[in-house]
Symmetry: C2
Amino acid sequence: MVEQQEKDSGIRPLRADARRNSEAILNAAAEVFDTLGVEAPVKVIADKAGVGVGTLYRHFPQRPDLIKAIIQKEVDACADAAMVLVANEEPVDALAKWMQRLVDLVATKRGLGPALHSGNAAYQSLPDYVFGRLTPVLSGLLDAAAASGSIRSDVDAKELLIACMRVATPASEGDVAQARRMVALMIDGLRMPRNG
Amino acid sequence: MVEQQEKDSGIRPLRADARRNSEAILNAAAEVFDTLGVEAPVKVIADKAGVGVGTLYRHFPQRPDLIKAIIQKEVDACADAAMVLVANEEPVDALAKWMQRLVDLVATKRGLGPALHSGNAAYQSLPDYVFGRLTPVLSGLLDAAAASGSIRSDVDAKELLIACMRVATPASEGDVAQARRMVALMIDGLRMPRNG
DNA sequence: CGATTATATGGAATCAGATTCCGTTTAGCA
DNA sequence: TGCTAAACGGAATCTGATTCCATATAATCG
């Protein structure tokens, strides 16, 4: 009975129909989240995927599991984008551009922001993953820019990350351009020597 | 101690028991929201107030009505605080201090932030009220500081207001001090001459 | 290929919380 | 004190989330 660790990550071979359904659910959920937001009824997703709700729950026992599966790729891509920027831009420009890239991520994946800041304990794995992946990236960008003397060095990466993601979270009020401007404002703040 | 005005358009005087219950519900809700957040079950509030759910709904047909009633006083106080600051501080300091005052408001009234940014159409009256009240205040502070040459003048008041309130919204991650620092960062951004 | 078995499925049943409805109670008033 | 409109409480209803399990099926084996 040593079969605990076969939750995912491919150690266990999924049956073909299960794999197919899992993918259908993922596609349906991505579409529904973009349309109705993360709070969309589970039934809607199941119907669109052509499966029963029981099947949906078998694959994704918690709603955050579903969200996480959908955005993981996007988050990874965003993290990777920093590499390219670092290689081709001045440190402070790399920082500024990456943070705008972050705005795009949050603005595009409409579910991400709300799910991230919901405060619901059940959603914990999501912020854990996202911040765990992105904080080191931002931290590196900040250090590089600080080392080049373009910005001050007294700002905590995770703190800034959270603030930016909150500002970028779409809702009734506000749009992407607005979020961009406000994030740019924070970057300008970084350029300012520490004030008393 | 302004007398309770009629809550909706009617000019009808409330019966004594109704007024009493309305107040009890308000007190209970304020307490429950602070403890469990705005999503707390209606039943909990009704029980704590010692009334039936029907009575609660009679007084506050929509949850936002309840939230609005609770925070209205706080929002007004925050708006009024600007007057004092303007009279006693340099324009840019008045601006900075008022924005920190705003952080306190959002951080303290735990329900405010989430309700404000929920995007739920039923909650529309809340942002309408809050932004309607606070945007002119911030706009005035920004204009004064810009006129004194301390900050740039290309930032939209409502945009900045929304951004600050989002940053200040409490959740699992983050605390008041963190929100303060991030808002201070934005203010530093305002001090920076417009960059290309 | 057919039998066997562990997996996976669908949707009915159950549960939780929101909202409505209506028979009963009560404040206000003559 | 009696009358009436206002207000009350909570049962009934509705909506959507989550669980459960009898049925179906992919994979494996002889």
